[in-house]
Amino acid sequence: MQFIMIKIIGMIMVLISSTLIGYLKSLKYTLRRRTIRAILSSLNILITEITYNQITLSEAFAKLSETSESGIGKLFLIASQILNSNEGYTASEAWEIALDKVGDLNLNQDDIRILKSFGKGLGNSDIYNQEKNFKLASELLKKQLNDAEELSKKNEKLYKNLGVLVGIAVIIIFL
């Protein structure tokens, strides 16, 4: 009787752990999709503030850092801190340093490259060019969003199911 109990406990543990591993691997795709969407909406707010409200970039970043979701808020927070520290960084330098400092954003290499090139155009010219710079970044990010949604649709369910099934397979073969 004891033997069966321990076997059952072991089976449950293997099943739970493999399901969780599958779920974790599928999270990467979900998070990337959500993050790109959050960046798009935050950048939208940014360009609206800059165009219609004429506030400084450091204030805009501070505002954005509060209203943005999860990881993105941290990026804006670091950027606004760097700008506020008065060490003479330009806006685009601050953006780039913040991008490097913010750690793991759940984004692809391509997405980060788009963000970096957006930063190069930041604060470098007049309002009209800022809008064009933003429109370019926004178009590219929308394409990345489509890409991410496709990938996520294909892979999320796949990894979750794979996790459960491999757990069952291990249980059957070894127990």
Partner: protein, 65 residues
């Protein structure tokens, strides 16, 4: 020769079929192929052990060789 082995083999067969379909459906055909092959190898290992026992038993009973 317990009846459990038959159930194990049947369950592995079902699992391999399901995994095969899922992987093919999501486009990863090479991995589907690999999973099928792995399933076949695992079942073959189980069956070979039993066949080995069978031959040993026959050898002992008939004392042939």
């Amino acid at each position: 020769m317990s009846i459990d082995v038959i159930f194990k083999i049947a369950a592995i067969g079902i699992l391999v079929t399901v995994l095969n379909q899922i992987l093919i459906r999501s486009g990863r055909e090479e991995q589907a192929m690999m999973v099928t092959l792995a399933g076949v190898v695992v079942v073959l290992m189980m069956v070979i052990t039993m066949i080995n026992n069978l031959f040993t038993a026959v050898k002992t009973i008939f004392q042939l060789y």
